[in-house]
């Protein structure tokens, strides 16, 4: 229900020495589920708190539906922004019952008590907490507290909901369930969700768009599929799950697709970044599930010979570590039925459509 435009935003800590967020720009369309993703200390929470109005930017502006709400000259305080926020530790007030927690924002807005009751009850229904309204938070499980926090933020019908790692304190099963509930609620309400997490699988599962951040800088903004299979740089490739960097050399450019010869392996028809010349050293990024493992000699010549160094059975897959040319280690994932023993000679086949080429030194 609201569009957020972040323009050239910076925030420094510790007397200007440390840049928590650097010249960060992002246009979040109305009605989207957007995730700020990155390791701890990447500036994602700072960005969220800047959007919420808890922090004042050093440079840049934040606009909501075309109105500037944050700039170095001034910040509309959080209580005047009409946003909602769900915190990592839930921040459910321990001295208030579930009903009092959820009704707080409505009470601040001076709604009539009958109206408050109707809205709160409907919201508790939505998050599956009917019958819990008189409980104190100490009598609730972590998942239930999380729902209270969610209900409390949603009941005031904010245009924007900010969520700061809201699932990280839940156990794995509950996390998965809350994940799908969150997505459903976003679809149903049309509220713009800005979600912060360090968990890439969570980001992939939930988001319409992901903004990957590292050291305060936006690395890539795009759909989950784009970010996963077309990483903009090494940092993104590395952060979005396991990845092999296979050394090689550019042997062809200028055509629709370039060609890269892997060291000790086949030539692959891949996209070569602009500005690279014949003979440049590159790394080809390829994820473990995109390498096929076959018996030695198979794969009609376009394969790389290797030897199995480690094998781990993970239930739904086998994970191999193989030693290729120059003993370079590669991680390969296969269906559990594709079985080789440690020490076996194997052939590696690479899917060229899933490869991304990066220059050797530069990101």
């Amino acid at each position: 229900m609201a569009r957020i435009q972040i323009d050239n935003l910076s925030k420094h800590y510790a007397g200007g020495q440390l840049a928590a967020v650097q010249t960060f720009s992002l246009d979040i369309a109305d009605n989207r589920f957007v995730t700020l993703l990155g390791p701890s200390g990447c500036g994602k929470t700072t960005t969220l708190r800047l959007i919420a109005g808890y922090l004042k930017p050093d440079t840049g502006t934040i606009q909501v539906d075309g109105t500037v709400v944050s700039s170095p000259e001034g910040v509309t305080p959080p209580d005047k922004r009409g946003m909602g926020m769900v915190f990592q530790n839930y921040a459910v007030w321990p001295h208030k019952t579930v009903f009092e927690n959820v009704s707080f924002g409505l009470m601040i807005r001076r709604l009539g008590s009958a109206e408050i009751r109707t809205k709160v009850m409907a919201m508790l229904d939505l998050v599956g907490l009917q019958g819990y309204e008189d409980r104190l938070p100490s009598q609730l499980s972590g998942g239930q507290q999380q729902r209270v926090a969610l209900a409390r933020s949603l009941v005031v019908e904010p245009g924007i909901l900010l969520l700061d790692e809201p699932l990280s304190n839940l156990d794995a099963k509950l996390r998965e369930r809350m994940r799908s509930e969150l997505k459903q609620i976003q679809r149903r309400t049309g509220i713009t969700f800005v979600y912060v997490t360090h968990d890439q699988s969570e980001a992939l599962a939930l988001s319409d768009e992901i903004a990957v951040m590292h050291l305060g800088v936006l690395q890539q903004y795009g759909s989950p599929r784009d970010i996963y299979s077309r990483p903009a740089n090494r940092v993104v490739a590395d952060f979005m799950g396991q990845v092999n960097f296979v050394p090689g050399r550019v042997v062809g450019t200028g055509e629709a697709r370039g060609r890269v010869a892997l060291d000790g392996g086949p030539q692959l028809p891949v996209d070569v970044p602009a500005g690279m010349a014949h003979g440049d050293a590159v790394d080809v990024a390829i994820r473990p599930e995109n390498i096929r493992l076959g018996a030695a000699g198979s794969g009609n010549g376009a394969s790389m010979p290797a030897r199995v160094a480690e094998l781990t059975f993970l239930g739904n897959m086998n994970e191999y570590v193989v030693a290729g040319a120059n003993e370079a280690r590669l991680r390969v994932q296969t269906h559990p039925t594709v079985l080789f023993g440690v020490g076996d000679s194997v052939a590696l086949e690479f899917d060229p459509r899933q490869c991304t080429v990066f220059g050797r030194q530069a990101g």
């Binding site: 500037v68 000259e73 001034g74 305080p77 959080p78 209580d79 007030w93």
Partner: protein
């Protein structure tokens, strides 16, 4: 990849301008400056200026040259050192017995320690004069009539002063040592035992080094508090011609008052206190690794065997000396017509009638004391809460300085606080000297550190996200404070209130220089009555004082306890 949209409309963001919280914060900062910073500044200024020469260090030179003054300094140090040592010798065994052994009747040990701490030190001093006055002391007289002259003890001596002071200060060692001993994670000791160390060896080589910083820190606190106690040093020291810094400073206010010299002596006093507190904080900081365990299990108790009865006996002795004997003497003396005649015909209520209804000072003094203590406790906690909130929740430049400024009074003994306030307010056009207002300023200023500490401790328990989630739901600062922050920290603030109220209602060291006949307090009334030599009415008034303190604590606990449970 990234669209950079040109700003559609550049509406001025609503910054809110001056908001209510800025006014509240400004008020707290201003009161801290008026209560603490300015008086201290004028004390320093007063010490280095003299009427004829302008700037001069002459006051300090005189303070250090004349035996009258440097002996007071030496006496204070000697008193502090002995008191510290004996506080350690009494407090540590009791702490160890309670937290680590199977000594019986631990509740009794705890009771002894808290009663000793709660008893106003000047009452202990008066009681011991009743018992051990060189001529009329009850025990001394009894010993002489039994022909045991060599056992008599003259309370008007350094030894006597140490005794009455230690009975008030050993709880500092006891409390810090207990909390340290109880927070040592059992796994530290268990790992020593699994490696083959016996219980006693573990206690000596693992536990003792871990808790030593806390114990030392408690000893230094005992030192600092001991040298600051005006009441016992005046009651026991002056008759024995043992002048200390507080009593010497007090004497400098006899006509004609020597403000410059009093300020210089006060600053020397402050220097000693600050050095001791600096060391104490250092030790306490080193203590931090003790509590790392947190969730660890409770350590096993050492089975003392028959020796546990020796520990119990030790407690009984402490109880008899610190609690039973003084209270028995105060109660006994208050009900007899005159000391020395012990028979039923001699039992009377006349002293109570006298102090309550005939001595016109008492009622006014009780009213003043209750009013002052309640107001000072409320103000100290209120200002403390705001200062603590600024420190923990805002990015205000200079908030560290605020934090330090709020700790300054810890380094100011009561009488020094009084000297500083007199210096400051006499230099202003406000005629506060001699009013109840200056007493309120003194009390509030003295106990602000307790308020800040209580507020800080409870605010730290409240994650800032609890406040932030109220803000983002549209609650203003005031609404957030009212509905979220204050209800959550109320139990802690209440404990802080009581922590200020109890010492404030028995405050003597600062009041003695600041009171007038209209603003007199109970502690001052007792002290003045004692000076005139009527021991029986003094005892009656002392008991009334204890009853007031006890009832006040009970009521406060009842009120606070109820609120704390309903808000849970």
């Amino acid at each position: 990849m990234v669209t950079i949209a040109a700003p559609a409309t550049l509406a001025r963001p609503k910054t809110g301008g001056i908001r209510l919280e800025h006014i509240v914060m400004g008020g707290a900062i201003a009161s801290l400056i008026v209560l603490v910073v300015l008086p201290l500044a004028s004390l320093i200024l007063g010490s280095v200026s003299s009427e004829d020469e302008g700037f001069s260090v002459g006051n300090f030179v005189r303070a250090m040259e004349r035996p009258l003054y440097y002996r007071a300094l030496i006496n204070s140090l000697v008193l502090g050192a002995w008191t510290g040592l004996f506080s350690l010798l009494i407090g540590l065994p009791l702490a160890w017995a309670v937290s680590r052994t199977n000594t019986p009747f631990k509740g009794f040990i705890r009771l002894t320690a808290s009663l000793s701490y709660l008893t106003p030190p000047f009452l202990t001093a008066i009681a011991f004069v009743n018992l051990f006055g060189p001529n009329a002391g009850l025990i001394n007289a009894a010993l002489r009539s039994a022909g045991l002259d060599f056992l008599t003890f003259n309370i008007f001596s350094m030894a006597g002063l140490v005794v009455v002071t230690v009975l008030h200060t050993f709880p500092f060692v006891y409390l810090l040592a207990t909390s340290a001993l109880e927070s040592v994670d059992a796994s530290y000791e268990e790992s020593a035992q699994i490696l083959g160390a016996g219980k006693w060896r573990t206690a000596l080589q693992i536990t003792a080094p871990l808790v030593a910083p806390a114990v030392l820190s408690g000893t230094l606190l005992a030192f600092v508090n001991a040298i600051a106690l005006f009441g016992s040093q005046a009651i026991v020291g002056i008759p024995g011609r043992i002048y200390t810094l507080p009593t010497r400073i007090y004497a400098l206010f006899d006509y004609p008052p020597q403000y410059g010299l009093a300020s210089a002596l006060s600053l020397i006093f402050v220097a000693i206190t600050v050095i001791a507190l600096f060391l104490q904080r250092g030790y306490l900081a080193r203590r931090s690794y003790v509590t790392l365990g947190g969730k660890g299990s409770r350590p096993q108790l050492i089975d003392l065997g028959p020796f546990r009865w020796v520990m119990f006996g030790f407690t009984v002795v402490v109880f008899l000396v610190a609690i039973a004997a003084p209270y028995a003497s105060l109660i006994g003396v208050s009900f007899i017509k005159s000391v020395g005649l012990w028979s039923w015909e001699n039992v009377t209520l006349q002293h109570y009638r006298f102090v309550l209804f005939q001595y016109d000072v008492t009622q006014r003094a009780i009213g003043n004391s209750l009013l002052l203590a309640a107001l000072a406790a409320s103000l100290a906690v209120l200002i403390g809460a705001i200062i603590g909130w600024i420190d923990l929740r805002t990015q205000l430049t200079g908030r560290r300085f605020l934090d330090y400024a709020s700790l300054i009074p810890l380094g100011l003994p009561g009488i020094v606080m009084a000297v500083a306030l007199i210096q400051f307010w006499l230099a202003t056009p406000f005629a506060l000297y001699g009013t109840i207002a200056i007493l309120l300023l003194a009390y509030t200023g003295r106990y602000i550190p307790l308020g800040v500490r209580a507020a800080n401790a409870s605010l730290r328990q409240v994650d800032s996200s609890l406040e932030e989630s109220a803000h983002i739901l549209g609650a203003s600062w005031l609404q957030t404070m009212r509905h979220i922050t204050l209800p959550l920290i109320r139990p802690g603030l209440f404990a802080g209130w009581l922590l200020v109220f109890v010492p404030a209602i028995q405050e003597l060291s600062a009041s003695i220089l600041l009171f007038s006949s209209s603003s007199i307090t109970v502690a001052v009334a007792i002290f003045n009555l004692y000076e005139t030599g009527y021991i029986e009415p003094v005892s009656a008034l002392a008991n009334i004082n204890m009853i007031i303190i006890g009832v006040a604590i009970l009521i406060a606990n009842r009120l606070g306890g109820q609120r704390a449970t309903t808000s849970d």
